[in-house]
């Protein structure tokens, strides 16, 4: 047992709590610290899970017996669409992001994530977006085209109501949350580990979350683009997916599954991270094959992007191309198998303690392996054709997603529960919950394989009697309700443990990772002092940390200027490089998210003047946010802390990393747009490439040269000669480029309502104008900040943050010239 803190220690803890704690009452809405935001994600996600589960129960009630009319076809369509949407977008991803946000800083020895306000913004976008989507269900105008919204079913012609708009705008809004979490987690893992925690000493969970974060960065933009294009087609009549006018509905499928398949692994990887964390703890030994697991994570992350077409085997793709995707689909089983064998070997070599979390891990191993095996079956093209769109696919998907995500998630919930509450869950009630859930789950979905093989299609609201599916469906429905009782038991157990659970001892599972060195229940600042890490298993190899961290014997044990501090470290070696000042409680995330919600709603209601107003307000809110940042005296009141400089006094701080990671997502969105163009051009049956581009070659080249000139002038500023006049000159030249680009766009007289060709050009021009305008605006802002003394030749931090955006803006401009102007001129005119 830990000793009671000394008076000095208690005084320090109180000081830390005052600086890091949330404001009381309504002020708690301004909380930005990762513990609060992570828990909010988790609790909100679990509420959405209950909503999704309720929808599933309604579906199973309807399907329990043949020829039932409890729920009509229209409502049934809304129910299964919303079930999938809620579970995938509002439960699975946000809950895992929340778990990662809660755990990562604690595991890597940091006091918070590096962009706390971004996490809070992400949470509110998720909450508001989720509520907007869910409201459609209560208004009975929910989307009803399936959770993947295939065109033309989801297009205006076949879905004239607002359902699809709710989905497209709501999900895009929610995805702001996912992208911000991706940026936040990737940069935090790379740049804020405790001193000495090199990459090879990093906990495996962090490797998994790093991979997940990067996969979000590269995986979500295709869907964001697809959603924007489809909403433009529905609301403004532009052409992207309609065959008439040169679009192609298959473009939607490509964009959706370019996101959709990696998403399965975005969900699986953090869950596997939980498994890789828990198994060594309960086996009482280090994991066997740490390096093999890292290798498997990287391979899985990449290969999962090469499988998207296996969702489209029936759309008429050449067989050899199908074979490539079939091979890739089988290949991804190899890194998965590596992890399974590593886990089994670790269990085999250790002395396993079968506590409650281990029970859920064992359930995971059984269910997920079954799901993986049916996955290999589905990778085989002929079999895939046979069972396409049947209940077999539904069963496989649930085995993979529930087995691969929910079982480890519940294991993790039970494992880290004492961390949050300081109490242990009930072992007996927890076991009842597990067995009810496990039996109910297999009863529901194992049988569904059979109904699928017998030919029952998915997404039908009823079926005739006498087809041989009746008794299987009835048993599936009974199993569904048994599973629901299991969920209720687990929830009851968790709720009751806060009141009746016995007090947890420090590090109750004898774990090896740093989060257990934090006193329980959890505080707002994690570590009273930040230790130097000398091992991959700090609490096993440096057990004194349990005492010395709270005693303040390590780094940053004092609070200076009442500011929140954590250590910034080298991405590879983990060597301490700077002290990062982190923002305190702030209303900006809530205000910005509320304004964005207003924008989303006004677009939904097609009140476009209001939408413009909200867009302007959102811009103002973001600029206001960015103003009190960097070297603003309210953020950075001093130069250094001890031997280390403040991050805002360096040239390679977390802001620059955040910008680069954000641009990676932005670049993926641009690449998806290029893909759309290069796909529709040869494939769409009605595509028309005009003899001559409607865009003025001289206008674009001239505007591009002005942009290049602005970059040259900017470069001189970054290289050292920074001045207000110099930055204003860059701003004026950037503005001239923007004006020239806008005039070129207007002069082109594009007709996006008439052809996909013009629609895509219009989107590209809007993309370029947005980036040029933003870069120019931010440069103008820098000129003002130089005048205020926040940026200077000696303090170039902010210029370094903006620098990659300038490079990106120029590069995408010239790539656009080549792809949208030069290529058609060389190969395609008149095609």
């Amino acid at each position: 047992m830990s000793q009671a803190p000394s008076a000095e220690q208690q005084a320090r803890n109180d000081r830390f709590e005052r600086v890091w704690g949330n404001l009381p009452g309504w002020g708690t809405l301004s909380a930005v610290n990762h513990t609060t935001v992570g828990l909010r994600f988790l609790i909100t996600g679990l509420i959405f899970f209950l909503v999704g589960g309720l929808l599933a129960m309604l579906i199973r009630t309807q399907l329990a017996l043949p020829e039932q009319e409890i729920i009509g076809a229209d409502l049934y369509n809304q129910l299964f669409t919303m079930h999938g949407t809620v579970m995938m977008f509002l439960f699975a991803i946000p809950v895992l992001e929340g778990a990662a946000m809660y755990l990562i800083p604690k595991m890597i020895g940091a006091r918070d994530l590096v962009f706390p306000r971004l996490s809070a913004l992400g949470y509110f976008c998720y909450l508001f977006g989720g509520l907007i989507i869910l409201s459609s269900l209560f208004l009975q105008i929910a989307p009803d085209s399936g959770w993947f919204m295939y065109t033309p079913l989801s297009s205006r012609e076949f879905s004239p109501g607002m359902g699809s708009d709710f989905w497209l705008l709501g999900i895009t809004f929610v995805e702001i949350s996912a992208i911000s979490a991706g940026v936040e987690l990737a940069v935090s893992i790379l740049r804020s580990r405790a001193p000495g925690m090199s990459l090879q000493r990093m906990p495996l969970f962090s490797w998994y979350i790093l991979a997940m974060a990067l996969m979000i960065i590269f995986g979500f933009p295709p869907l964001i683009l697809g959603s924007v294009l489809l909403e433009l087609e529905r609301a403004a009549g532009w052409v992207f997916f309609a065959v008439e006018g040169g679009g192609d509905p298959l473009l939607w499928q490509h964009l959706f599954w370019l996101f959709g398949h990696p998403e399965v692994y975005i969900i699986f990887l953090p869950a596997a991270g939980i498994v890789s964390t828990l198994i060594p703890v309960f086996a009482g030994r280090p994991i066997i094959g740490y390096r093999w697991v890292v290798l498997a994570i990287i391979m899985m992350g990449f290969v999962s992007f090469g499988l998207w077409v296996h969702h489209m085997f029936t759309v008429g793709i050449p067989q050899m191309a199908q074979a490539f995707f079939s091979v890739a689909s089988m290949l991804v089983a190899i890194p998965t198998a590596i992890q399974i064998f590593v886990w089994l070997a670790t269990l085999w070599a250790g002395k396993v303690r079968f506590h409650l979390p281990m029970l859920w891990i064992m359930g995971f191993l059984i269910v997920f392996v079954c799901g993986g095996l049916t996955g290999v079956m589905l990778a085989l093209v002929p079999f895939n054709w046979q069972v396409h769109d049947t209940h077999f696919v539904v069963a496989h998907m649930h085995y993979v997603l529930v087995g691969g995500m929910l079982f480890p998630l519940v294991a993790g919930l039970y494992y880290w529960l004492p961390h949050v509450s300081g109490r242990m869950p009930s072992d007996s009630m927890g076991r009842w919950g597990f067995w009810l859930f496990f039996i109910g789950f297999n009863m529901t979905f194992l049988l569904m394989h059979l109904t699928g093989l017998l030919g029952m299609p998915r997404r039908v609201y009823t079926y005739e009697a006498g087809l041989g599916w009746g008794w299987l469906n009835l048993l599936s429905s009974v199993g569904g309700f048994v599973m629901a009782i299991g969920v209720a038991t687990v929830i009851l157990d968790i709720v009751l443990h806060f009141r009746f659970g016995r007090k947890a001892s420090p590090n109750p599972w004898q774990a090896d990772t740093l989060e257990w060195a934090i006193p329980m229940p959890v505080n707002a600042y994690n570590f009273a002092s930040i230790p130097e890490i000398r091992s991959r298993h700090p609490l096993w190899d440096q057990p004194e940390l349990m005492r010395s961290i709270p005693a303040g014997e390590h780094g940053l044990s004092q609070i200076e200027d009442g500011r929140r501090d954590t250590i910034g470290s080298d991405a590879v070696t983990g060597e301490a490089r700077e002290v990062m000042h982190l923002p305190t409680n702030s209303w900006e995330p809530l205000i910005t998210a509320a304004v964005l919600a207003g924008l989303c709603l006004s677009l939904l209601l097609k009140t476009y003047l209001l939408a413009i107003l909200f867009a302007v307000l959102a811009l103002v809110a973001c600029l206001r946010w960015s103003w009190v940042n960097g070297l603003h005296p309210r953020i950075a009141p001093r130069d250094r802390t001890g031997d280390l400089p403040l991050h805002s006094r360096t040239t390679d701080g977390p802001g620059r990393w955040g910008m680069i990671v954000t641009l990676m997502a932005d670049g993926t969105l641009f690449a998806s747009l290029l893909f759309g163009w290069l796909y529709l051009w040869p494939v769409a049956p009605d595509w028309q490439m005009p003899e001559q581009s409607p865009l003025s070659v001289w206008g674009l080249l001239g505007s591009g040269l002005v942009l290049a000139g602005a970059l040259g002038l900017w470069w001189r500023q970054v290289q050292g000669a920074v001045s207000v006049g110099g930055l204003l000159l860059v701003t004026v030249v950037g503005l001239a480029h923007c004006v020239a680009l806008v005039l070129t766009a207007i002069e082109a007289g594009l007709g996006p309502g008439d052809s996909a060709h013009d629609s895509i050009l219009a989107v590209v021009l809007a993309y370029l104008i947005f980036h040029s305008g933003l870069t120019t605006l931010l440069t103008g802002l820098q000129a003002l900040r130089v005048r205020q003394g926040y940026t200077s030749q000696a303090l170039p931090y902010e210029l370094r943050v903006l620098h990659p955006l300038w490079g990106y803006t120029v590069v995408v401009y010239w790539i656009s010239i080549v792809v949208f102007l030069a290529l058609p001129a060389a190969f395609g005119g008149g095609a």
Binding site: L199, Q200, P318, Q319, M320, A321, A323, F324, V683
Partner: protein, 111 residues
Amino acid sequence: MIRSRFWRHPASLLLGPVVWSLWFVVLYAMLSLSCLQGWLVNGGDHPAAINLLLAVAGLLVTLLLLISAWSAWRTPSETGFMPRTSAMVSACSAVASLLLVVPGLIMAPCL
């Protein structure tokens, strides 16, 4: 010197998979374009010139990845973690690239 620094950098972990991913995209794009435009497909019979082209290109990518794996493996490093892991990742990517050659050897291109 540059080689050693590269293989000790975490970006080297991504080299193999990035090459594999690019190859995968190029493979799919080349085959699709070839079938759409009727380039190198020999009227749809097997083997067509596109089969040979893709197989040779696939073997070259495999070779390139194997060379990079060998180069990483031989790089001296304090703990060996980064170069050895990069070597294993590149080797796995080489195997994955080689497997993608197989359909091209046995199937008609545009069926």
